[in-house]
Subunit: 189 residues, 2 copies
């Protein structure tokens, strides 16, 4: 039983990785369960045994995002600016996964998209956590002048926006260098 | 003939507006020519008379973007920071059109997307124009310290990234106020 469970877990992880690839290529709306199944050598029926709906598979992919970008830093530690600098450097080495989530974020603003609530709540939480961490460290104003509540959405916007420019033209945009220039503006380094 | 040409031009503009709406709702990959035709009271065959392919219609939508965000400012004037502040305020009053282009930008990083070249070239041009304007005005460094070449991708990233957060949760994100906080960081106002 334990071995079967472990094999099932590996299989699920393999399916989630395949879904990440298919979404990077086609977006979520353009992705089909058949394409994901084919990539892992399952029938569509076999895939449905692990994920009963396309949305269930999307939820697993989005949960993977949270494991991915909170890193090992814990709930609050992951919002510290130095750790974000490392995260941006790390992301610059894995365009595939960045592409998946950039495509999903873009789609999420379209009507009734199943990832919309996920991103809305996630950003609300990220902004609140980051503002709290910055306020604890710097008080009412960062060295560069802005409040923690102004900086939190800005940091998030810079990370997301740079990813699009970098994915479109990786040779023209040095994502980690531009992000470091932004951190210097904040006056924290 | 002239009247027929004018009517044709109006009809095309009407179709482009309908396409903007359908893309805001479903993205480009999820949009169908049938849905656009229905919205303007044409058959799909009638629509094809104006735009022979779905991609031709996308090109018209993307050209509309350029009319939209260079505003009346001319090639370089539109990149000046004060004008961008006004543009962000203006955008905050029209979520529909912002949603269309945010959805298209997100999709553009997926494989073989027909808007990819448009966005790649557009961003290269925007970064180059903006850096040139900033360099002419401020020299090697903006008052806040960064170079014009660092600021150009940052401004673009902040505008794009804030649009996603604002579209997802307009009550939580005061897009113009956060953008002004960013301009204050640059030390130019």
């Amino acid at each position: 039983m334990a071995a079967a469970g472990a094999r099932g877990g590996e299989r699920r992880a393999e399916i989630v990785r395949a879904a990440l690839e298919v979404i990077a290529e086609r977006g979520y709306r353009g992705a089909s369960l058949g394409a994901v199944a084919e990539r892992v050598g399952l029938t569509q029926q076999g895939l449905l045994h692990h994920f009963p709906t396309k949305e269930a598979l999307l939820v697993a992919v989005l949960e993977e995002r949270d494991r991915w970008d909170t890193g090992g830093g814990g709930a609050h530690g992951g919002r510290r600016l130095e750790l974000l600098e490392l995260l941006v450097e790390y992301n610059a080495m894995r365009p595939g996964i960045v592409r998946t989530f950039s495509a999903l974020l873009g789609e999420s603003v379209t009507e009734d998209h199943p990832a919309r609530d996920f991103f809305t709540h996630r950003y609300a939480r990220v902004r609140a956590d980051m503002a709290a961490v910055l306020r604890a460290e710097f008080g009412d104003r960062l060295p560069g002048g802005p409040t923690p509540e102004e900086v939190a959405p800005l940091v998030t916007a810079v990370m997301d926006g740079l990813q699009y420019q970098w994915l479109l033209d990786p040779d023209a945009v040095d994502m980690p260098a531009v992000f470091r220039a932004f951190l210097r503006l904040l006056g924290t380094r």
